[in-house]
């Protein structure tokens, strides 16, 4: 057995990011700003060069955790957030699609392959260059973007817990 005992107290959950990491992130093509809040680094980059980002993170030894998609409107662009994990820090790059597409990272980062397929299924975002952009979650018979419209609609929520069993 290999067991490594660490003093967890030595690594507080709210550790500040290393300045060198912040500077490297700021130097990636298309990055507008880098901020630290809610225990993570947030990189704002509307015109991010996603391939340069992937190469930079690979060089830093930082792995891709997942990709979040947030549709801005039913027919419009989609906000895309790439979440990377440094050992004790989450780094999130926020960008957006251009004409409904972003270059695929699947050829560079294996973890991007399924995430991009899922986003295409749910939100109809295209990822040109993906080696196998076939449906992941989408049942046959559904069009791409099967939840996009539903997730763009305004939420009408009760300001208290509701239950179908509690009919007045």
């Amino acid at each position: 057995m290999t067991a490594s005992t660490r003093n967890a107290k030595a690594r507080p959950m709210t550790a500040d990011p290393p300045p060198a990491l912040t500077e490297r992130l700021a130097s990636i093509n298309g990055v507008a700003s880098v901020t630290f809040h809610n225990r993570g680094l947030w990189v704002d980059a509307p015109m991010l060069d996603v391939e340069a980002m992937a190469d930079a993170m690979t060089a830093l030894g930082i792995r891709l955790a997942t990709i979040t998609a947030i549709p801005q409107s039913v027919k419009g662009e989609t906000t895309i957030i790439y979440h990377f994990i440094a050992e004790s820090m989450i780094v999130s790059f926020r960008t957006q699609t251009r004409n409904g597409a972003l270059a695929s990272l699947a050829g560079r980062l294996r973890a991007a392959a399924w995430a991009e397929r899922e986003i295409r299924d749910l939100f109809a975002v295209d990822f040109p260059g993906h080696p196998n952009l076939v449906p992941l979650l989408k049942p046959s018979g559904f069009a791409n973007g099967m939840v996009r419209e539903a997730m763009c609609g305004p939420a009408a929520l009760a300001n208290s817990p509701t239950s179908a069993l509690r009919v007045k």
């Binding site: 057995m1 290999t2 067991a3 490594s4 005992t5 660490r6 003093n7 967890a8 107290k9 690594r11 507080p12 959950m13 809610n38 225990r39 993570g40 792995r63 891709l64 955790a65 997942t66 979040t68 947030i70 957030i81 979440h83 994990i85 050992e87 004790s88 820090m89 989450i90 999130s92 980062l109 294996r110 973890a111 392959a113 399924w114 995430a115 449906p135 992941l136 979650l137 989408k138 049942p139 939840v147 539903a150 997730m151 939420a155 929520l157 009760a158 300001n159 208290s160 817990p161 509701t162």
Partner: protein
């Protein structure tokens, strides 16, 4: 002769529906493709239609095995946006439930692994042990699957008599140490089916970005409890378990030793539950506009949540990345070049959770 063999989506070797299509030449697997999506429920979409109380109940149903992981990780993300610091008593109770959940999840895996290699008596022994954990979870929460312990701001239930659970932990540790671990690590039947089978090298583990016991069994020492301590882990201390071999046996050993560490964590936490409140907030929580990412160490590895709020009654976006979502694709790398007969135990060694993956 080359042929294609479909394992799944419904097959006795699978806990839940997914499909591994393997292309074989004779008895040897040459390549594989994996299909998921048979249990898609649209939980991320439904989360936008629930308020901050209802959504915790929904999120807990992402998975029937690591249900508490999802509820607590979501609550921690919402608490991060709202700047809520939960009471230490609540953090310790969350830790206890999280480690009991890891215990029953690893025991579930061990039982299924035993069944997959035809070792029925070991399956019965393991599931008898697992039942003790389920009984403890039921005694604490009143439930055996969805415990309903978490709310934004803390926990909903106290542990009334913490020390009353210690004898059960002692008995479990004894059976684990004297029976389960020796059988899994020394029995010739088990070793013949697991040693040097389904290898994932350290380089491959990094390339495929696997997490949890799968990564640690390939020598990649990542564990959120160590890397970014949360809840009570910083106070309890933590030992991460790794193995360098990367085969099915290594995954067995990592999970087995992690169970002993979970028993230690639960025991220490039960002995040291601090006094204080269970919740930092009462009633409907107010989560202001903002966003947060959160990760915790689920039984299968790192669970990742992104939660956004626009200041309304419910979340504006909930993104869930479960550990199985990144571990399952790596099955392709593990099974290439193996006999078809090993496919069942190799896919099981990843402990794939399809309910989590599909959401």
């Amino acid at each position: 002769m080359a042929y294609t063999f479909p394992l799944g989506p419904y097959h006795p070797a699978l806990e839940e529906p997914f499909k591994v299509n393997v292309q074989c030449k004779g008895e040897i697997i040459e390549s594989a493709t994996i299909e998921v999506g048979f249990s898609y429920r649209g939980i991320e979409m439904l989360a936008q239609q629930r308020n901050w109380i209802e959504v915790v109940t929904l999120i807990e149903r992402v998975c029937g095995i690591c249900s508490n992981t999802h509820a607590s990780t979501f609550c921690m993300a919402a608490e991060s946006i709202a700047g809520i610091e939960i009471p230490k008593r609540a953090a310790t109770i969350r830790t206890i439930v999280a480690e009991l959940e890891r215990l029953h999840s690893h025991l579930l895996w061990a039982g299924i692994g035993a069944e997959d290699i035809g070792f029925h008596s070991l399956f019965m022994e393991v599931f008898n042990l697992r039942e003790r954990v389920m009984d403890m979870l039921e005694a604490i929460s009143g439930n055996r699957v969805n415990y309903g312990m978490n709310c934004i701001g803390g926990v909903l239930r106290d542990i009334a008599d913490p020390l009353s659970h210690l004898p059960v932990l002692d008995a479990m540790e004894k059976t684990m140490t004297n029976v389960v671990i020796p059988v899994f690590t020394k029995n010739p039947t088990v070793l013949a089916r697991t040693r040097n089978v389904g290898r994932l090298t350290r380089e491959q583990a990094i390339e495929w970005a696997v997490v949890g016991p799968v990564a640690r069994a390939s020598g990649v020492d990542i564990d959120v409890r160590k890397d970014q301590p949360y809840l009570a882990y910083a106070d309890l201390g933590f030992t991460s378990i790794t193995r360098p071999e990367g085969d099915v046996l290594a995954r067995v050993v990592v999970r087995a030793l992690e169970m002993l560490e979970s028993i230690r964590l639960v025991r220490e936490a039960l002995k040291s539950i601090p006094d204080g409140r269970l919740r930092a907030t009462e009633g409907m929580p107010h989560v202001p506009a903002g966003e947060a990412t959160m990760r915790t160490e689920a039984p299968r590895g790192e669970a990742f949540y992104y939660v956004a709020s626009e200041g309304g009654n419910g979340p504006a976006r909930v993104k869930i990345r479960t550990p199985s979502f990144v571990n399952i694709p790596a099955i392709q790398a593990m099974i290439t070049g193996l006999p078809l007969a090993d496919l069942s135990i190799v896919q099981a060694s990843v402990d794939p959770c399809i309910s989590c993956t599909d959401r």
